[in-house]
Symmetry: C2
Subunit: 302 residues, 2 copies
């Protein structure tokens, strides 16, 4: 007997009888496991990363690929492009790793010149919701926002009454640290969510993108023993060799990745596989999925 514990990606056959017995919510389409949904995708279900919106963070253990989100934080993204082009981050370090929260990198001493980048930026914590902004809502209720879903590949939320939308602080999302002044963020200190989604940060700080590859290089870093998970000694800092915009890297050296689109029938089918698990292992499908429990899959270009 093999006990593999909980399974995240399941290849097993479907037990339709089990679904009918235990299902909490009716499903219009016949249930399919996620592997089948992925196997049935076509080229139209995937998109290439835009080199102008992709950062490479080079750590001692390898490269982390971050997709930027100019639709939500255009000025932060522009500043990050400038910072990367002027090699602001090269030789800086990861300075913080707080368990079940965030890993953060930047200039521990705050002495490095910003070059031509801006020192302060408008608080791009929410954007105007509307037809100009793609938003594919999921029907699942959320405690932190009136509606949640996906916007051009990112987990997002919106409040129709206020006409606002914002990115959601899910695992792997990248944000720009700030001080107490809302305008004090500028992209020089970035953090990535490494624990249960701290959604209370939504609308309070600018999210600028998402790690699409190499997340494990950051999530496994030793936790800092200082307050807020800061490393207490310089020797504990994890050096950052470089941060580069993909567009500034020779094409042959780029991460050749494609990301699953979030505005397709295939993606909606994938969400349904996460909402109601239908494989042999599950007994009770949840009938619900948290927006942060939906994987937005990246893979080598095919």
């Amino acid at each position: 007997m093999t006990r593999v514990g909980p399974t995240a990606f399941v290849l097993a056959a479907i037990l339709v009888a089990e679904c009918v017995r235990a299902g909490d919510s009716p499903v219009a389409a016949p249930p399919r496991p996620m592997a089948d949904v992925l196997a049935a995708t076509t080229a139209a279900d995937w998109r290439l990363l835009d080199p102008d919106n992709t950062l490479y963070l080079q750590t001692p253990a390898g490269r982390v690929v971050i997709e930027l989100a100019p639709a939500f934080a255009p000025q932060h993204v522009a500043n990050l492009r400038t910072l990367a082009r002027e090699r602001y981050f090269d030789g800086l370090a990861v300075i913080r790793s707080q368990d079940n929260f965030v890993v953060q990198w930047g200039d521990a001493e705050g002495k490095r010149s910003l070059g031509t980048a801006k020192a302060t930026l408008p608080p791009e914590f929410t954007v105007r919701a509307g037809p100009q902004l793609p938003f594919d809502a999921i029907p699942d209720r959320d405690g932190y926002a009136p509606a949640v879903g996906f916007s051009a590949g990112f987990p997002a939320a919106r409040d129709p009454a206020r006409g606002e939308a914002w990115l959601a602080h899910c695992y792997g999302m990248v944000g720009a640290g700030r001080g107490n002044e809302p305008e004090s963020g500028n992209g020089t200190e970035l953090y990535v969510v490494t624990g249960h989604a701290p959604r209370q940060l939504d609308r309070n700080i600018a999210l600028v993108g998402r790690v699409v590859q190499g997340m494990e290089l950051l999530s496994t870093l030793p936790r800092g023993s200082g307050p807020l998970g800061f490393y207490e000694r310089v020797e504990q800092h994890v050096p950052i060799a470089s941060v580069r915009l993909a567009a500034d890297v020779p094409a042959a050296e780029r991460a050749n990745l494609e990301v699953m689109r979030t505005d397709t029938a295939s993606f909606r089918a994938l969400v349904e596989t996460r909402r109601n698990r239908r494989d042999d292992w599950y007994i009770v499908p949840a009938g619900h999925v948290d927006v942060c429990n939906v994987p937005i899959i990246a893979r080598p270009r095919r």
Copy 2:
């Protein structure tokens, strides 16, 4: 200017004007930061770990302390006591680490004798809800259950219509792996949640406890490159020196920890500090807290 990024534990003063301007939900009591709530607790707000319900997992990096949950999985807990007493786990290993999901340990080869422990157990995935089971609900809505809250120190959920309660798969919760047969779990393969709460597992597998200290020793383990995050080579396994019941360890060698009670006014005040952040840094309090975003604090006994 200091940009520390998002803060989890905040010591700053309260901006009452900010609260009034931005608050989404009225609060009866005056808002206090979490540090003030903790500072105001008395001995009655804390409880000592019961040595009969505490496991020590010894890894190369140190000791992980796990509190068991006999109210929810009595037969699994009893089996774990037997397995620990008969030194079943000693010399086994962590065999799986899947990013944003779980770390798992047990017998990779499945050859070790169970001794007097049971090979199969009833599926303790839910328990009967009722007056016999402590349950302190929080008012915050949840997508996975009709009600959520805390039961004797553990995050939990319940469904009054079905008369069922169960533990919630929050970060740090420990469960007993099983095969496809619901009765196939027996505690010999344990997993701990190391990512965003996989709440779809609720009611599908037996949770047996929670890591109260040493979580970072497991959450930072290198991710396995095999399917489901299993390590592909034996050399990657992380050895487990021993698993002991605290009651079987000399008193002087026990972790002398106390855990905050979850059935007190102090804990309700703590939850409110997580629901609406009131320090200088936050602009918009969420007016909501996910049950898995409430810390259940353990500290050295005072």
